[in-house]
């Protein structure tokens, strides 16, 4: 099979596909494991809020976005209507626009079935894997992304199912602090990416402003602080010129 990836023509055999698929699954494995408590939380909290088991599972299967799912459940629990839930979803998911924009140069040349599949699977975790320096050589291979995204999707849905079962028998599971899973995972992704002063500035600004906006309860804070962090990092890079080579 032959397909265009970026500006190069990549020819890979079907064994190459399986290899890339497997390497993707392997790359995402730590994150797929770490997301289990967070998935349990999504499933059990959905049951606590009053969703049927199949709606709870359908949420993970079709929505496939932890932060948005938990926020929506919280809103439903406090009696907020459909419009409020959908508006909050727009705010929380707005960051994904940055991901699709970042991957446009690499993925927009793929056939539609690939774009739709990888677009659907484009979580924070998949984005972090695809963008990481560690897997630079595999970035343009859609089979690698499919392996990572697909395995993560399975893990998220199995964890949700487990949460549905557990949540039905033991309520108040969400008070355990299962969302620490996301803290541990994201720290393990962020810290190794801090290789230049510019990334350090980016992370510091995003962290500080996100904290501030959260205190002020600005719903738009997530996207705004991410953009401020990116601008701060990019400005640092421009000011100190070529510091991509100057490692910390």
């Amino acid at each position: 099979m032959m397909h265009r990836v970026g500006s190069t023509i990549r020819i890979s055999s079907s064994t190459g596909h399986y290899n890339a698929l497997f390497r993707g699954a392997l790359a995402v494995f730590p994150l797929a494991l770490a997301v289990v408590p967070w998935g349990i939380l999504a499933g059990s909290y959905a049951i606590e809020v009053g969703l049927t088991w199949y709606t709870a599972q359908a949420m993970s299967a079709f929505v496939f976005a932890g932060a948005a799912q938990l926020a929506a459940l919280g809103l439903i629990a406090s009696g907020i209507g459909a419009v409020g839930v959908l508006l909050t979803t727009i705010l929380i998911t707005s960051r994904h626009v940055l991901y699709s924009l970042s991957l446009r140069p690499t993925w927009h040349v793929l056939p539609m079935r690939w774009r739709i599949t990888l677009g659907f699977l484009l979580t924070d975790e998949l984005f972090a894997i695809v963008m990481s320096d560690k897997f630079k050589a595999l970035k343009a291979d859609p089979w690698f992304a499919l392996g990572a995204g697909g395995f993560f999707y399975l893990s998220w849905n199995l964890a949700t199912a487990l949460g549905i079962v557990l949540g039905s028998s033991m309520p108040q599971l969400h008070t355990l602090g299962l969302d620490f899973a996301i803290v541990a995972t994201f720290i393990a992704l962020i810290v190794p990416s801090i290789k230049t002063p510019a990334v350090l500035v980016c992370v510091s600004v995003a962290t500080y402003t996100a904290m501030l906006f959260a205190l002020w309860q600005w719903q738009v804070g997530l996207l705004l602080s991410a953009v401020l962090g990116m601008l701060a990092g990019y400005m640092t890079e421009c000011l100190y010129g070529g510091d991509t080579k100057e490692a910390l």
């Binding site: 730590p30 699709s100 963008m131 620490f180 803290v183």
Partner: protein, 100 residues
């Protein structure tokens, strides 16, 4: 939760992930924008975790009584020392749930 809300969420989220993968969208990313976007992963991930780590019950809480804060420090130390993602998430989560 109604199916309307669930499907609405699914559509909104899919659109946000797909929008710029659409080649029919007439847009070329200049070199500056591409450089800027290299910072999107660390920026977004930081913006997501910061409130979880530093805020407890709608208030700023930096200190050793905040288990998220302590757990975050442990995770930072583990990833710096071991450079191993799997070990970092497993050990820091284990300590968080069993000890902290």
């Amino acid at each position: 939760m109604s199916w309307f809300v669930l499907l609405g969420m699914a559509v909104i989220i899919f659109m946000s992930r797909y929008v710029f993968l659409e080649p029919k969208l007439p847009m070329v990313l200049g070199p500056h924008l591409q450089r800027l976007l290299t910072y999107s992963a660390p920026a977004v991930l930081s913006a997501i975790v910061a409130p979880l780590i530093f805020i407890e019950g709608e208030q700023l809480h930096i200190g050793f009584q905040n288990r998220y804060f302590v757990g975050a420090i442990i995770a930072c130390l583990l990833i710096v020392v071991t450079r191993n993602t799997l070990l970092t998430v497993l050990v820091s989560m284990g300590l968080f749930f069993l000890v902290l």
